[in-house]
Amino acid sequence: MDQGKISAGQLTLLIMSFTIGSWVVLPTGIQAWQNLWLIMFMGLGTGLLFAYLSLFLFRRFPGKTLFEIHERVYGPVLGKFISLCFLWFFLQTGGGTLAIFKTLLRSTVFTATPDLAILVPLILILVYGCRRGIEVIARSNQLLIMSTVGLVLVSILLVVNIFNPENLLPFFNLPFSEVIWTSISLAVFPFGQNVLFMMILPRVNRWQKVNGAVLKGMIGAGLVLSTIQFLAVGVLGKSGQILVFPTYEFYRMINIAQFLTRLELIPLLNFLTMGFIKTILCLYALAVGTAQVFNLRTYRPLALPFGLFLLLVAERIFPSISEHMRYLEEVQTFFGLIFSLLLPMMTLGIALLRGLPRRRMAP
């Protein structure tokens, strides 16, 4: 197993990147477009509730990954089965993220380039990074997330001359049910996918600090996403609603003195690094999780096969971007709810009922 340790601060930044991950280019809840940046905070609140449920579970079993907890709570057979379900969830999350970025690249910059040429180099460095362990992932993420936050701050300056505050009006013209639905769907995606960090929390060097780190990370991600959405609405107005990649598109509007134009490539690559971190974490969770389910000594040899598996999923999972968007809007919420809320809740409930863990473990 990976012996690397990360600090609570690094965990915070990892959670930020993971949450920003793919939502930033393919936002869901587009029906609430104009108010999405506000509803984001409601989603964040709900998402935090989910997260704290899982954290409560973790704090009962400090130092154990989700899969180890499963085995203790459900016994080896059922526990392994539930872990396998989670593996599917990770696979789907990672593959979906890759698919989003593949589509983004294919439909903007590389219209003629085959999927493989885009995905294979990416998969190779994903595998390389995954084999290097969580320490390396966390460290490289520190630089990448800093550049993304920097980009968001700079873009506030860049859009000043095309930002129209009128576009933000009216606030909350939606039916209440729609608002609730959107915030729940936001709580599940992007925030709910953070359940994956249950595989990574044991690698934090001081587990007592985990709660604060998760809180900070999710709030940070919420702020970044909300800011980007806010800018996009102010710049694009309602026309953002018909766009596939509105956050990408609003950077196309930037025009500084007829000289700085068409800057969309920079945020595109920057967001791609966020997707990179998200996928690499999925890959890591997949490899480590599988190693734990099958009691392997090390996860490293699994990185490559799972990398190729992710490639396959990314290629095959959605036949078209429309299908993908529909999935994210309609199915994802239910599917994600099972993994980010129901299963952890059930595990926690059974653990409480069975009075586990029997004796308090020293961390």
């Binding site: 380039t113 694009l236 609603q241």
Partner: protein, 400 residues
């Protein structure tokens, strides 16, 4: 022994991966476009073909080597032999097809990402603009800051017209459009803005009009008023004055001149320094009330009389006259818009943004409410500057 075997296996795996990478990359460079193989399009025109279905698109392609750049003694040789631009016409059932069909004629691939202006013939505009331009919005290449213009003439000929001081007419048009703030009698529209306006349910669009002006047998460009589009289709035109009125209401007047007739004969022209507009739309009972408040600060720039207009009393009078003139322009625009039943001012959008409930109520019959709307106009004009002189040189004060 096993260690060695493993190493060998690992080696094979490493080689395999490398091989995979090479295979992927070796076939590579799918989206590569060498600069010298690009035909950079700077302007496009859309029209219906003389016969048959579809669209006829004209492309203004720049001949880079013919554009003299400072220091490009090598590349830019032989300038003047041929025009720096090349006009290419191509037809197809859709805009996209027309673009691709251009490869039958062009040795280089058309590159639309730097296109600056799209000129639409009024015929196309009457049938609807979005169906014609969908490609430009959907494709990642063209920028959404392209300027849209209407022309009653043939767009191709227009692009081929003399560009005045510039070498490329598309760039000349860009400059013409961007200097709108010198007169505020033209309203520039980007393709992105157009789409945004189309998303608003009640608003009508406007596009600037450009046409060919014959000057001593030479064709030249002239920006001439504004076209009004309702539901994406051209319904009429506004002249300069009405366009100014539109800009007043939209709060987009950035500069320009106001000329008034003086009561004692003669005219005075003032330059607009700053202008600010406040619009308020309210629905009372069964009628929409619109309140437009304009504040404008100007400076006296020219007069055609021998009177002293620089006294405070005269300036006050001038201010009133200016207020009238502005109100006049606004009224003219309102009248035209009501005639076309086109809410080009975004009154409905205002209601949507500020009074969502009422808007939902009025939305269905907005056209009627718009035409019946009562408009109250308040103009506050101030003359602040008088330039470098006070009175005309030969001015003689009236005897007391």
């Amino acid at each position: 022994m096993t260690g060695k075997l493993q190493r060998r296996k690992r080696l094979k795996k490493g080689q395999g991966l490398l091989l995979l990478l090479f295979l992927v990359l070796a076939g590579g460079c799918w989206d590569r476009r060498e600069l010298e193989n690009l035909a950079v399009v700077l302007g496009m025109g859309v029209d219906f073909p003389a016969q048959g279905e579809g669209y006829e698109v004209s492309f203004q392609i720049v001949r880079a080597s013919q554009i003299q750049t400072p220091g490009s003694g090598v590349g830019g040789g032989g300038g003047g032999e041929s025009k720096p631009v090349w006009l290419l016409r191509s037809t197809g059932p859709t805009f996209f097809e027309a673009v691709r069909n251009a490869t039958f004629q062009s040795s280089r691939r058309l590159f639309l990402s730097h296109n600056q202006v799209v000129i639409i013939s009024t015929e196309v505009a009457k049938k609807g603009i979005l169906p014609a331009l969908d490609f430009l919005i959907r494709d990642p290449g063209p920028r959404n800051t392209q300027w849209l213009l209407l022309t009653p003439d043939d767009p191709g000929q227009l692009l081929d017209a003399a560009a005045g001081l510039e070498r490329v007419s598309a760039l000349a048009i860009t400059d013409l459009i961007q200097d709108y703030h010198l007169t505020s009698k033209i309203r520039p529209v980007k393709i992105g803005d157009y789409v945004e306006m189309m998303m608003q349910k009640t608003s009508a669009n406007t596009l600037p009009v450009i046409r060919i002006k014959e000057n001593a047998g030479k064709k030249e460009l002239l920006l001439d008023g504004t076209g009004v589009l309702k539901d994406d289709r051209l319904v009429g035109f506004l002249n300069y004055k009405e366009t100014r009125g539109l800009l007043w209401i939209l709060g987009e007047v950035k500069g320009g001149l106001i000329t008034v007739d003086l009561p004692g004969g003669g005219k005075a022209t003032c330059e607009i320094f700053t202008a600010a507009t406040k619009v308020k739309v309210e629905a009372r009972a069964d009628q929409v009330h619109v309140k437009i408040e304009v504040k404008v600060e100007t400076g006296l720039g020219a007069q055609t009389t021998y009177d002293d207009l620089s006294t405070t009393g005269q300036l006050k009078k001038l201010e009133t006259l200016q207020g009238k003139a502005v109100e006049d322009e606004i009224r003219a625009a309102l009248a035209k818009a009501k005639e076309y039943k086109a809410d080009i001012f975004g009154f409905g959008e205002y209601l949507f943004k500020h009074d969502f409930r009422t808007w939902q109520r009025l939305q269905k019959e907005w056209e009627r409410y718009f035409v019946d709307a009562q408009v109250e106009i308040k103009v506050e004009a101030k003359v602040e500057g008088i330039g470098l002189v006070t009175r005309p040189a030969n001015y003689q004060a009236p005897e007391e």
